[in-house]
Subunit: 429 residues, 2 copies
């Protein structure tokens, strides 16, 4: 109940933050970067406590690595903020300017979404990135980070919040949730929260989607495919598959299923099987794949599996269409790749595969806001409404229609006394 | 169960329709227009049966008027189709072209949403408009019209469906539901249907939203406000209010609440009260409004009420901020208007009001796809994700990211062996 009251204050601040000039928002970002650098010893000390506790609790090494907030991470996030300051303002952009009739002019102008709730993993640098993206895009933000980072998040939030308020942005522009139980209360804040972005396991994201009336953006599964076409260059295929599987095995854009054109199977599979083994990857295959590699069997279940581990499944297919059908049926509409030297095959694949990212001859691991040049991302969306794929500043804004008249009424147009003339006006840049 | 199997076929057609050229889609639209004209006698005969039944059932006059499909309506819809053919293709538009590195190029290209289910009122012309918008935007569509129009809808669907299939679009691009019970089955088709657009009563839209996991676009309430500022021109205010209330009383963009600056109340209200009375509108007011007009009392309940009738409520406010707070709290984020000659007051109001349409000095009834020059609309969205306001072709498309490489792997960028250079390429128009 207390949370709901706080969230209501955030909602009331949203129209005020929406009206802040680009200069003010950039000034606040600059102040945040400076404040973080000044308070770095305090941040590192809090992080040392989190790290100590996590080690005591036997947290796995990769999680510890993400939990660590050191000089290098501080440098990265403050540089990220400076990049963000330089990016074009996503707000107040006129997307449409149309004279409907003499003295009746319609504008479509970008505006923030409002209040965004982001629930993210135990990565303190994510708190800074998400806050910065929301400040730049004029959105109020409610943050809930992984509990292992509780001390680091608390101090980071205090520093950022103070800098933002002192720079003249509304005091209730941001809010930090600390207890897991507060998520349940947040999920009930429809009417106050415009968008939820949960990051984390499939199960967690599904839980959020099923327990709130607030719109949710993100992805549950990341079942990415690589289809090796008959016209593939094997010397490209093998390094791409190894990178897509092993470069960061627990990421959503990691490949989980390989589809191999049957005409190239004999040439590719023995060599690929060997390479996967050398990299510690377990291969599970259909009959044809087993015969060529001696691997274990892949079941129907494997088609739907996001391993997040050193495991990959492989099947042969008769043609592109069979590969496309498999991907559209079993996939998660995240990122799927074709390896081929045949431009027409690539075009067909990219047209028919219904995913946010469709690639030719490169690793699925490129599906990431930073690698797309968006500066940072708040998440990756596999939905087709609103933002799709990596979500940066552009995905954090909406628009409103502004109509300026001098007394026009609809009756005059309905009766035919007046008629619309629909004249698009030039957009200033 | 049978419905689900049919819907699955539609889903399988979606990638094929998504790949159809602009020429093919426009050719199909042309064929639809011609087929409708050729079969007009058949259509009018079916409509006569629907009209006869509706009259027997004692259906209200405004509903009968919308149910009627005559020479005039046929002319309007076929002209609408011809306008649509001339509109720029919403598909295959490159929104972003960026070289991430030598030989690694990212494109963001528009594509259809996929399968759209539209549930609409007993208006046969709506079936034609919605079908045409979906053909142009490459979306498969599942149509369910109001039951009073069942015979007209059936023949219209048959004609359109045949023309579309003969023009070479996939046979399962479109589907018609006839029984109300089939809506329940449709709501369970998540995974096959990408978007639902329900049109109709608040209660009906709420029901749809609460009984499906498919994303829903639209609006439940339409509680629109007009705020008469102290700097208003009364000679503009009164005709605008009368038009916004009475031009079409059961529309979602009709005004329901008036907020009057207290400094202009004495000058405006007696005259406004008289004008409303002359137009058969019941005025319900706060104390101050009652004293100046002798109207009945408006309760707290009236603030939340979409009358869809010849009733309007009015309250006085101290300033713009009080008006804005009222609108953001009680409103439905649809369309709200300020009457003022003060440009700065208008700017403040339009910035702070969190609605899809914010107007100055004109009727809220302008909130409509046709009046915005979109040709037609599938609905009006009060959500802030994806399309907002009247939804035309642009709101019916998404995009996908296409990434073309020649063997690039992420490991090389993570290790620092290679770096991104992010060079935006010129967009061809």
């Amino acid at each position: 109940m207390e949370i709901k009251e706080e969230v209501r204050k955030v909602k009331l601040s949203a129209p005020l933050l929406a009206g802040m000039s680009e200069e003010k928002r950039n000034h606040a970002l600059q102040a945040v970067a400076e404040a973080l650098i000044s308070a770095k010893e305090e941040i590192f000390a809090a992080n040392a406590q989190d790290m100590e506790q996590a080690e005591k609790d036997g947290i796995a090494a990769p999680v510890l690595k993400r939990l660590k907030f050191d000089e290098g991470k501080l440098h990265d996030v403050t540089e990220g903020i400076r990049d963000l300051i330089r990016l074009k303002d996503p707000l107040f952009q006129t997307q449409l300017a149309r004279e409907l009739d003499e003295g009746l002019t319609l504008y479509r102008v970008t505006c923030p979404i409002g209040v965004i709730g982001v629930i993210f993993e135990a990565r303190p640098d994510a708190l800074v990135q998400i806050s910065a993206l929301c400040i730049k895009s004029g959105n109020c933000v409610i943050l809930k980070g992984g509990s292992e980072a509780i001390r680091t998040n608390k101090i980071l939030f205090q520093i950022i919040h103070r800098a933002v308020a002192e720079a003249g942005l509304p005091e209730h522009s941001m809010m930090l949730l600390e207890a897991r139980s507060e998520i349940t209360e947040l999920l009930e804040c429809d009417g106050y929260v415009d968008l939820l972005i949960p990051r984390g396991s499939n199960q967690f994201v599904q839980y959020i989607m099923n327990h709130t009336r607030i719109p949710v953006m993100g992805h549950a599964d990341g079942i990415c495919h690589i289809y090796v076409d008959k016209a593939a260059d094997i010397q490209k295929a093998i390094p791409i598959i190894l990178d897509a599987k092993t470069q960061y095995v627990s990421a959503c854009n990691t490949v989980e299923t390989l589809l191999i054109h049957e005409e190239i199977a004999e040439k590719l599979l023995p060599e690929l099987g060997k390479a996967l083994k050398e990299h510690g990857v377990e291969l599970r295959g259909s009959k044809a794949v087993q015969e060529l590699t001696g691997c274990v069997e892949a079941t129907e279940e494997d088609n739907r599996k996001e391993y997040l581990d050193y495991i990959v499944s492989a099947r042969t297919v008769k043609n592109i269409r069979e590969a496309v059908d498999h991907i559209n049926y079993y996939g998660s509409h995240h990122t799927d790749c074709i390896i081929t030297e045949d431009a027409q095959a690539a075009e067909e694949f990219m047209m028919l595969v219904d995913s946010a990212g469709v690639y030719q001859n490169c690793s699925t691991r490129f599906a990431d806001g930073y690698r797309y040049g968006f500066g940072a991302e708040v998440g990756i969306s596999t939905g087709k409404l609103h933002a799709r794929g990596p979500v940066g500043l552009e995905g954090l804004v909406s628009y409103k229609y502004k109509l300026f008249g001098n007394g026009q009424i609809v009756g005059d147009y309905a009766s035919g006394k007046k008629t619309f003339h629909f004249k698009d006006l030039p957009l200033e840049d």
